[in-house]
């Protein structure tokens, strides 16, 4: 069930990236895709009824810590990408005075 929900989230993100005309909404779509993937990885490592992998005395049943560690990296990369993308959007807005992708494409073809 959880996997299907994650997949749905992924599809929502991709749909946003493809159909939205506004550049910032496209970046939001990318972020949703990223979150879906983070959830997917966490689900891979998850087991019912187990606890966080902090190895103190008496803790036996833990989830797989590796996907969580991987996702920390992926989240950091996602933040970098978002920041860069927003910076580029700012520049695009200064040059073309619009955030609508089809208008921008029309303008850049006429140059």
């Amino acid at each position: 069930m959880e996997f299907y929900l994650t997949f749905l989230l992924f599809l929502i993100g991709v749909w946003g990236m493809i159909t939205k005309e506004n550049l910032i909404k496209k970046i939001m779509g990318l972020n949703i895709v990223d979150s879906a993937i983070v959830l997917f990885f966490i689900l891979i490592g998850h087991r019912q009824g187990s606890t966080a992998p902090i190895m103190e005395k008496g803790i036996k049943d833990v989830v797989d810590p590796l996907p969580q560690a991987l996702m920390l990296t992926a989240i950091v990369i996602g933040i970098c990408l978002t920041a860069l993308a927003l910076a580029l959007v700012l520049k695009i807005d200064k040059k073309y005075h619009t955030l609508n992708i089809s208008q921008i494409e029309k303008l850049s073809q006429n140059e």
Partner: protein, 556 residues
């Protein structure tokens, strides 16, 4: 010796930091250039040291990061293929650096990202951990997005943004594929994945197919095969010239070599065969657009995709001869494409114009650039005795069993000749460009080209000629030392029939050029030029490509 792979990644990163530091200390900028050059030469020497051990003794350098052994930790592997791609990357980067040294517009930021790009490139080649590969891919991509937008022109920023979105979607798919692999076999090191992640070991076939398709499509966006290439022409055309040369010359190939390694490790043989078709279509379709272009660098960018098609198709055929041809063409393309980009950059530097239609008779003004461009054009068109001829003959010989792909590749060869005839016309034609009312271009305005721009061109031309003159040595070397296979039969590249074939292509190509320069041909070109995919459609095509790949995996 075993820690050489580590140094190949660390030295560029360290150099990047050093460049930042130097800038804060307000030291004259000549020091930046000195440090950049010496760092790249150090790396070159390190690779040179490893040659004997890797190629002759067939040793593999393995370095475990942090001392953790393979299934748990990340390790760096350097084998023949990694040595080859690493060396190729460094040589092209060195030429790019020399070319950029004379340019005054490039501040320390340029060199900073330049070295981050180099570090990411070496990382992708050397790492033996699939998640680590993802991280290095992202480092490489982020540096390249920034470098593409470096000129801050409208189109460059737009191209960079398009590339960012498309490539990030691809990287997400790649990450998803990694997730499936980890779920399936609980291992992330490529060795472990190769051992455990296959259908014989109880992995469900549908999961295997899905994971392979996701990974191939994810990386494939950077390797730019059909239908994933739509970001490339703009991004490579509007980047600064040294960056265009590095992106076209080496970055797309490194992504392709990553696919190469993953497919070999997962033993997805059926999938490899699919690349024969993908590759031959990739060789042909971008050429049609290339023929219609009027922007010098955009024409070259379309040809990068097309030449990748040759490489990919030859990889798909899978015999030892075709793999050798593929690597040989990869090697050659790195040199002649960077030669062509540097020459185009020099033309733009000298005249300030990037529209083909406005330029004419440049031969008299800048003869050195005209000659190097001619060498590049002859190489890419496959005319003897230059290197493109040799590798194209290897590829066509190895594809003999597959009539339709070799026909597509033959057509692509004709298109290549035609569009490079069109490019060469800016140097050699007599026709006055003023006829087309495109504004006056006065030949007196031509700037003098500094020597630093010309030296890389001369070196690259010499390499193009030398690797064309000694074909069998290099082909044998590639197959024995890098692919660790013997070539099935002795090579005879310079036979009369092969030369005849290449001259036929030349003749047909010039005929095609005459066709497209008629009035009707120009109308068609204009219509084609207007039909470029927008961002939304490109993103949609990525998904469509993924679906095609998954369906194909199911069918076979």
């Amino acid at each position: 010796m075993n820690n050489i792979p580590l140094f190949l990644i660390i030295i560029p990163l360290f150099t990047a930091c050093l460049i930042l530091l130097i800038n804060f200390l307000k030291v004259p900028s000549i020091l930046t250039k000195l440090i950049s050059l010496s760092s790249i030469i150090t790396i070159l020497i390190l690779i040179g040291f490893s040659t004997l051990n890797i190629l002759i003794k067939k040793q593999i350098f393995i370095y475990n990061l942090g001392g953790w052994k393979e299934p748990l930790g990340i390790s760096l592997h350097m084998d023949g293929l990694a040595w080859f791609s690493s060396l190729l990357g460094i040589i092209i980067t060195l030429f790019g650096l020399i070319y950029s040294l004379k340019e005054k517009n490039y501040s320390f930021k340029f060199y900073f990202f330049f070295f981050i790009l180099l570090s990411g490139m070496q990382g992708v080649i050397l790492t033996n951990d699939i998640f680590n590969m993802f991280v290095f891919f992202e480092i490489l991509s982020i540096a390249s997005y920034i470098l593409i937008a470096y000129s801050r022109e409208n189109k460059a920023i737009k191209a960079s943004f398009d590339y960012l979105l498309i490539s990030s979607l691809g990287m997400s798919l790649f990450l998803l594929g990694i997730g499936f692999i980890y779920q399936g076999c609980g291992s992330l090191s490529l060795t472990g994945v190769g051992k455990n992640f296959n259908i014989a070991n109880g992995i469900p076939p549908s999961m295997f197919q899905l994971a392979v398709s996701l990974i191939v499509v994810g990386i494939g966006i950077k390797a730019a095969f059909i239908p994933l290439y739509s970001w490339l022409p703009d991004a490579h055309a509007y980047a600064p010239t040294p960056i265009s040369a590095i992106l076209s010359g080496i970055m797309i190939k490194i992504s392709f070599l990553a696919i190469w390694r993953i497919i070999h490790i997962l033993e997805a043989i059926n999938f490899q065969h699919f690349f024969l078709w993908i590759g031959s279509l990739t060789a042909l379709i971008p050429v049609i657009w290339a023929l219609s272009q009027t922007d010098i660098k955009k024409l070259l960018a379309y040809h990068s995709i097309s030449q990748m098609g040759f490489i990919i198709a030859s990889f798909g055929a899978g015999s030892s001869l075709s793999l050798t041809g593929s690597l040989y063409h990869l090697f050659n393309h790195a040199f002649f494409k960077s030669l062509l980009f540097f020459s185009a950059g020099a033309v733009i530097y000298a005249t300030g114009i990037r529209d083909l239609r406005k330029l004419s008779e440049l031969y008299k003004k800048i003869p050195s650039i005209a000659i190097t461009s001619l060498i590049g054009a002859l190489s890419i068109s496959g005319i003897p005795p230059f290197n493109g001829f040799v590798s194209k003959i290897l590829i066509t010989t190895s594809l003999k069993e597959y009539p339709l792909p070799s026909f597509l590749i033959f057509l692509a060869g004709i298109g290549t000749v035609a569009s490079f005839t069109k490019l060469m016309m800016i140097f050699f034609n007599r026709e006055k460009a003023i006829q087309e009312n495109l504004g006056n271009f006065s030949p007196n305005k031509i700037k003098k080209i500094p020597k630093a721009l010309i030296y890389p061109l001369i070196f690259l031309s010499i390499i193009c000629l030398l690797s064309g003159i000694f074909p069998s040595r290099i082909a044998q070397g590639i197959s024995n030392f890098i692919l660790l296979k013997d070539l099935a039969y002795p090579l005879k590249v310079y036979s009369p029939s092969n030369i005849g074939k290449s001259l036929t292509i030349l003749g047909l190509g010039i005929f095609l050029y005459l066709l497209i320069s008629t009035k009707r041909g120009k109308q068609i070109s204009l219509a084609l030029r207007k039909r470029e995919l927008g961002l939304n459609n490109s993103l949609l095509l990525v998904l469509a490509g993924l679906v095609v790949f998954i369906i194909f995996m199911k069918v076979l």
